[in-house]
Amino acid sequence: MTDQPLLSLKGIRKTFPGCVANDAVDLDVAAGEIHALLGENGAGKSTLVKIIYGVLRPDDGEIRWQGATARIHNPAQARQLGIGMVFQHFSLFEAMTVLENIALALPREDTSVLRKRLRDTADAYGLDLNPERHVYDLSMGERQRIEIVRCLLQDPKLLILDEPTSVLTPQEVDALFATLRSLAAEGRSILYISHKLEEVRTLCDKATILRAGRRVDDCIPASETARSLAEKMIGRRLEPIAHQAIAKNDSVTGISVSGLEVQSDQPHGVDLKDINLEVHGGEILGIAGIAGNGQVEIMGALSGETGAPRAGQIRILDTDVTHLGPVERRLLGAVFVPEERIGHAAVADLTLVDNSYLTAAGRMKFSSHGLINWSSVSEFAQTVVRDFDVRTTGVDALASSLSGGNLQKFIVGREILQEPQVLVVSQPTWGVDAGAAAAIHEQIQKLAKAGAAVLMISQDLDEIFLLSQRIAVISQGTLSAATPVGDATPEDIGLLMGARHTQEPENPRVPA
């Protein structure tokens, strides 16, 4: 390790029309250091790393790389310098294979050599990948593995990871951390963006905290608490959310599923086998599982998007809805928040008002005689924005203009404010920062407290344990019996999630 930082930023400023994304940001990353970049959504973390990676150009300021002033005009140049990046929004090509996706980022590699290197690297880091599969039928977790392997293959001096663990199991996270630590021991630096503060505390040597585009603090995360880090990020005191015992109301059965068999309509999807579950009023049932084990199928079956199942029955609020579509199910009092924010939960090119109309029209009675009452839709959207603290320029902003966390707050808010009796939500805080995640968790708890039945599908075990009263695990299309949260440990659940799943590394091998 030398005294000279590997990467040094001085006074970086970047403005977009209508907002200052970065202002006078300084950052030093030493060689062999795991450096955390912390901040809420919209604090300017992504903009800053895009500047480092050459995707964006700063308006002002200086970038020094290994002591010399560097102008990074494009990502290819950044990669040449030795900067690799795993994007939060994957830079993948859905209609192409895993191997092609990797080859595109490594222009000077022969395909057959690359295939071997891909297998070696994937094995070494416990990242299971089939090079011939097409990306569009891979789960979010598998897609992220491509991004990570793609970066590692470029032998970077600095690796930038934007929210890398949000879709991994605890065991996979451990394996990744071991990998990152050994990469750091090799003298490589890692710039690590995460909203999981505990992770930052255990993994990172240093942390730089951004708030509203400015650097507010540098600290050693190990000597802070998660709470103090979060408070530095948001600039005010944070009230802790505790696990709440909620009075379960057995007289209301929100969702009841028996003997459900669904043939997946997803290519390489997972068929659901004999799914049985029951969620009562006032209860949160958590379904844990690694992406791609039937979560998409179960969401589709419950929301009514995938049509009639092969066998079994679904009841919502004591009505047989097995053959009803999403609109009818919503009218009964159920709402749904699917995993994909853009393209499934919200339409990117429509405004927040339009998006409000799309799912709330029936329950909120937004139209009469075939005409839409836009002023009440707009009022509803404004209420969502206000109550859920959605940071946006207004309700006429396009959904695509919101950051991930803010859009997620909007989508969850849009459903919860319809005062449903049943909420089915998948990955409620995927890629969302600590402040927003806390807000979403609080609202889900509040809804259950008010007597609604909540079914939450999530890969995030912290979230599962924080919110659920009972936990079930989905693995390869079968659902385990639900255990009360007091009787389960994260390790048990983590092992169940990996059961019969090939990517479970028995002994995570760490390269020397």
Partner: protein
């Protein structure tokens, strides 16, 4: 008896020969559009570019007396027309559908204006290939080795494009740009430059297809002589779900039915001529739709960014 069979075989040779020449303009135009669309750009101006190619090719041949120079001029004219489209849609981010339609209207008008003085003129056509020995094999010789050189070039370019897309590095980059322009940009590929190249290739091929019509297929200029072939080329690409092999099959099918219905009309079947003329268009589309119904294959082959404007954020 054998003489009878031989005679009847020989009578089908000329129609099959003309079938290939009827297919060739489509092969060229569709290949160009295939590459263009694979890069994520929808150019609806194929008909216009073909007409521009046809008229400039014919005019050049009429003035210089050289059909080869005419073909060259056709290709260049088609490419220049496509560059207008590229500047408008890729640099100035105008709507691709509207701009493509405008290009077709522009091409129709411009070709009528330029071609006004050439209506009724004739030129010398490019001869067919004659390979010693090979072309003299009875039946097969003429069928396989007896076409004009452009027929072979067309098939070669189409199959070459298939190889380029699926087996070459730049073909992979082209598909990547069409699949996700944002991702390609993030990795560091020059999205706009690649699309410029793809659009120009599309124009070049459409021009050549038009030139083939006015210089070889029917060596004369008539206003609007492409008669919707640009549109059928567009439809071929989409209904063949962006697969070169199916594009070739569709083009030959179109050529075949065109010739068959012409012969049937000449033979005086009692079917209205308008219906017969419509047949190749309908049949080609119906057959391609029926063989390309696999939703997953379509999803894999359809360029996800087709028609969407792209602006690099800086």
């Amino acid at each position: 008896m054998t003489e009878l069979i031989l005679a009847s075989v020989l009578t089908v040779v000329p129609p099959i020969m003309t079938m290939m020449t009827a297919a060739t303009p489509l092969v060229f135009a569709a290949t160009g559009e295939l590459i263009c669309e694979k890069s994520g750009v929808l150019n609806l101006g194929v008909e216009g570019m073909m007409l521009i190619g046809a008229v400039f090719g014919f005019a050049t041949a009429a003035v210089t007396g050289s059909a080869s120079l005419g073909l060259l001029a056709a290709a260049v004219a088609g490419m220049l027309a496509s560059l207008i489209f590229a500047v408008l849609t890729l640099t100035l981010l105008s709507n691709q559908v509207a701009t493509g339609l405008a290009l077709t209207i522009f091409g129709t008008g411009l070709s009528a204006l330029v071609g006004f003085d050439y209506v009724g003129e004739t030129i010398e056509r490019i001869g067919t290939v004659h390979l010693p020995f090979l072309s003299d094999i009875p039946v097969i010789g003429r069928l396989v080795f007896g076409h004009d050189p452009l027929v072979y070039l067309g098939i070669l370019v189409l199959l070459g494009s298939g190889w380029f897309l699926n087996h070459s590095r730049w073909g992979m980059v082209l598909r990547a740009v069409g699949d996700s322009d944002v991702s390609a940009h993030a990795i560091g590929y020059p999205v706009v430059a690649i699309r410029f190249a793809a659009v120009s290739f599309g124009g070049l091929m459409a021009g050549l297809g038009g030139g083939y019509l006015s210089l070889i297929y029917t060596p004369l200029w008539a206003e609007n002589m492409t008669a919707g072939r640009g549109w059928i080329a567009l439809a071929l690409v989409v209904f063949a779900s962006w697969r070169p092999g199916r594009v070739l099959f569709g083009a030959i099918l179109f050529g075949g039915i065109t010739i068959a219905q012409l012969n049937a009309q000449a033979a005086g079947l009692g079917i209205p001529a308008a219906f017969m003329s419509m047949l190749p268009y309908i049949a080609t589309i119906v057959v391609l739709v029926l063989i390309s119904r696999d939703a997953i294959r379509i999803r894999l082959n359809a360029p996800a960014c087709l028609g969407k404007p792209f602006r690099a954020e800086r």
